[in-house]
Every structure is written in structure tokens, then in C-alpha cells.
């Protein structure tokens, strides 16, 4: 095969993107677990871990550019490289959402949470699973899977609504809890946004195979930014 070297380079790019995605997945669920356990030390470490994720993104971007310059990919090869460039950017942003939750953890004074967190870890788990599947769909060029994933976003949106309602009720009952409740709402918001970004990854997985830009409807009830 005349393109052996190129095939290897593409595979390596994909593998490194998966490594980065794995770090982002862990950051999401860890950030929420640390919040639930009020683990401040862990939160600080997670913020430091995000710098490594950011660096991975720059490294992968640079590698993609080298592949474009040296191999001049065309057609589906070009779409794969373009999608990786796009995906690492989205992953980096999802990593930022996890970091945001760690920062929220640090901003809440060392006091118990208003109520045990059940819905936030659930949101984080679903988002993590969606993210994992989206990258799977990309690597396997599985359009059907990529199309199915965004539907799971509805569950994340529903939990987001529920968290907001619950916290609002607590504020109404006792306005002294407003500060913490507000921060927890932001944590939920971060998870909801992270799941929306997974939808973008699904769009790229489809684009890689079909060459068509399709907009997956990630109904965004909580979008305020």
C-alpha cells in the first residue's frame, strides 16, 4: 500500500485523541464525585489535570497540521483529520466544564451540601457514557450510533431541569442557602453544556463518513450563554 505511513499516522492521531477523551471522561465524573464528597484536595488536583488536557489538545492540533502539510490528505482522509481537529477542541471545552465544577467545589465553603447529590452524579455518568459512545462512533465510522447518541441528551436535560427545580425550592424555603444553591445550579449547567457538546462530536462522526454537515437537534433548554 502506498499510504502505509499515512494510515499509521492517522491511527496514531485517533489513538491520542482517545487518550485525551479518556482523561476528559474521568475529569467529568471525578469533578462531580469530589464535589459530592467535598474533596477540596482532589478538586485542586483536577484543576491541575486540566492543564495537561489543554496541552494534549495543542499537541494534537500540531500533529494534525503536520499530517496535512506532509501527507496532503484528500476526501475521507481529509475529513478524518478535520474532524480530529474539531473534536480535540470540543474535548478541551468539555474538560473546562469539569474544571469549572472543581472550581465550584472550592468556592463552596467547607460546609455540608444542602442535600446529598444524586442527580448531578447521574448527569455526569450519562454525559460520560455519551462522550464515550460518540468517540466510539467516530472511530468505528458508525453513523447509526452517532445518530442515536444525542437522544440520551434528553435525559441530561430532564435531570438539569429537576436539579434547578429542587434547588429553587430550597431557596424559596430558606434564602440563606441561595449562594450554595446557585453554585450547584452552575455545576448542573456545566454538565448540561458538556452533554450538548457531545452532540457536536456526533455530528463530526457523521460528517467523517458521509461528508455531510447535519445538525443534530440537541434541544438546549438550559442554554443561557
Amino acid at each position: 500500500m502506498p499510504r502505509d505511513l499515512f494510515e499509521r499516522e492517522l491511527e496514531q492521531l485517533q489513538n491520542e485523541m482517545l487518550t485525551m477523551a479518556h482523561a476528559v471522561e474521568n475529569a467529568l465524573t471525578d469533578a462531580v464525585a469530589m464535589l459530592a464528597q467535598r474533596d477540596m484536595e482532589g478538586a485542586r488536583a483536577l484543576i491541575a489535570r486540566d492543564r495537561a488536557i489543554n496541552q494534549q489538545r495543542f499537541d494534537l492540533e500540531a500533529q494534525c497540521l503536520v499530517v496535512v502539510a506532509t501527507q496532503q490528505p484528500m476526501a475521507s482522509d481529509l475529513r478524518i483529520v478535520a474532524a480530529i481537529l474539531f473534536n480535540v477542541n470540543e474535548l478541551e471545552r468539555i474538560g473546562d466544564y469539569a474544571k469549572g465544577i472543581a472550581k465550584i467545589n472550592l468556592r463552596i465553603p467547607p460546609e455540608p451540601l444542602l442535600q446529598p447529590l444524586a442527580d448531578l452524579p447521574r448527569m455526569a455518568e450519562i454525559t460520560r457514557a455519551m462522550l464515550h459512545s460518540a468517540l466510539d462512533a467516530f472511530v468505528r465510522r458508525d453513523v447509526a450510533l452517532a445518530r442515536a447518541i444525542p437522544r440520551q441528551d434528553d435525559a441530561v436535560d430532564a435531570l438539569f431541569e429537576k436539579v434547578n427545580q429542587d434547588l429553587l425550592q430550597l431557596i424559596i424555603a430558606d434564602s440563606r442557602v441561595t449562594a450554595q444553591a446557585n453554585l450547584l445550579m452552575w455545576a448542573a449547567h456545566n454538565l448540561e453544556r458538556a452533554a450538548d457538546r457531545v452532540t457536536n462530536l456526533c455530528e463530526r462522526a457523521i460528517f467523517t463518513v458521509t461528508g455531510e454537515f447535519v445538525e443534530m437537534d440537541a434541544d438546549e433548554p438550559g442554554q443561557t450563554d
Partner: protein
């Protein structure tokens, strides 16, 4: 395409019994660059030559179908080859400057066509060399021998020589295959300027060049037209697997 400059209709071509082209139908847009590309032996050069009737005298060949320029059948018995070739210029892979000066090369065609007035010939020299993006490099030494020019300059001189006859269509068969990247870039830039005035069909020397130049691109494989679409589509999202395999370098 509302008003094609050239219409190729169901053209087949046999060479000593072998089918070199099979039922090719495509329209060429005016004032655009159309690229014919594909692996060797695909028929792209054959088709290019048919548009200029360069295969008329080849023995053991048979052509069927029709090629129209501005709606007129160029193979009709009433059609005149000389007239056709004034309208349709051709540039080959190897630059072949005629013996003589830069200036003599450019005015060779117009003089044959009967242009005698010195001022008119001067105008032709400047216009043609400017359009071929060579004027700035040679205008102070128009009487220097043409073969003293670099390869890239010689090729642009050959393009200028074609343009001197004010053709409507320019056919180029791998015009930069022997040129370094800088000269290639100059020729490509000249072509992008020239398409404002001319209809250009080019056989590129690489897929990358095809992608850089093509407003439209036709992929040929073993005498068949596999895919013909806008350049920006065919190199990012080819529809046919064979096109995909070729542009991604998996065969050819």
C-alpha cells in the same frame, strides 16, 4: 451549467481496436478551469486532444459521438481545423520554445495569421506576456533567445504564444510537470487570472494540483468518466468509491 462552452456528447474512441474512451458526455463551463484527472491510461489526454482535433491523422482510430464548441460540431464536414485551432489553443507538458527570440516566439502565430503592423504585434507581445504572467520578468530583454529562459519561464512563454492568437479555449496537458514549485505556482497563478477571459481545460500533474485549480473536475478511469463535479466537492466528498480511492492515494 446554463451555457456550456464545449459540449462533449457520447464520445467514444478506439485506437487499434482498443476502447480508449467510452461514451463520454460532459459540458465544459465557459471562463472556468476544468480539470481532467485520473491514473495514466484513463483517456484524459485522448479526450483533450480530440477537442483540438489533434488525433485526426492518427491511423487505426475511430471516433464516435460529437464535440461542440459554442454549439457547432467541430468534426462536421464544414468545420475548418485551422479555425478551430485558433479558437482552441494547446500547451504541452514540455515547453518547446521555437528557435528565436522571446518576441519572435510570441508573434509567430499572429504573423502566420497575417498580422504585419509592428505596433499591433508589439501590443500582442505585451498583452500575451502579461496574461501569461511573464511580462515583468522579460520585458527588458524581448530580443533575448527564448531558450535562455528558465523552464518555468519557457512554459509561460508557450502559454503566451498560445494566447497571442486570442483563443477562446486553452487546453493544457500537464503544463507544470517539469517545473519546480515556484515556477508551478507562477503558472497556476497565471491560469487563475486567465480564466477571466478564457475557458481552460487542464490535465494536472498531481491530485493536489487538480484540487488547487479545479472549478470543475472530471475523473477518468480506463476510458470512462467516473465522476464529474465541482472541484470543491470532488476532492472533499467524492461520491464514487473509485474517485475516493484515487484521490486518497489508495491506487494509481
Amino acid at each position: 451549467m446554463t451555457d456550456p462552452k464545449i459540449q462533449i456528447e457520447n464520445v467514444s474512441y478506439e485506437y487499434e481496436g482498443a476502447r480508449a474512451l467510452r461514451n463520454i458526455t460532459l459540458d465544459i463551463a465557459p471562463q472556468r478551469i476544468t480539470v481532467f484527472f485520473g491514473p495514466a491510461g484513463g483517456g484524459k489526454t485522448t479526450l483533450l486532444r480530440l477537442i483540438n482535433r489533434l488525433n485526426d491523422l492518427a491511423e487505426g482510430t475511430k471516433m464516435t459521438g460529437r464535440i461542440r464548441l459554442d454549439g457547432q460540431d467541430i468534426y462536421a464536414s464544414s468545420a475548418d481545423v485551422t479555425t478551430l485551432r485558433r479558437k482552441v489553443g494547446m500547451v504541452f507538458a514540455l515547453p518547446l520554445p521555437l528557435p528565436g527570440t522571446i518576441r519572435e516566439n510570441v508573434i509567430y502565430g499572429p504573423k502566420l495569421a497575417g498580422v504585419r503592423a509592428a505596433r499591433q504585434l508589439d501590443e500582442i507581445v505585451e498583452r500575451s506576456l502579461r496574461q501569461a504572467a511573464l511580462w515583468d520578468e522579460v520585458h527588458e530583454r524581448l530580443d533575448a533567445p527564448a531558450n535562455a529562459l528558465s523552464g518555468g519561464q519557457q512554459q509561460r512563454l508557450c502559454i503566451a504564444r498560445s494566447l497571442a492568437l486570442e483563443p477562446q479555449v486553452l487546453l493544457l496537458d500537464e503544463p507544470t510537470s517539469g517545473l519546480d514549485p515556484l515556477s508551478t505556482n507562477k503558472v497556476e497563478t497565471a491560469l487563475q487570472e486567465m480564466k477571466k477571459n478564457y475557458t481552460i481545460i487542464i490535465i494536472p500533474h498531481s491530485v493536489q494540483q487538480a484540487a488547487r485549480l479545479a472549478d470543475y473536475a472530471a475523473f477518468f478511469l480506463q476510458g470512462e468518466l467516473i465522476e464529474y463535479r465541482a472541484g470543491r466537492e470532488i476532492f472533499t466528498t467524492p461520491r464514487d468509491q473509485r474517485t475516493e480511492d484515487y484521490v486518497t492515494g489508495r491506487f494509481g
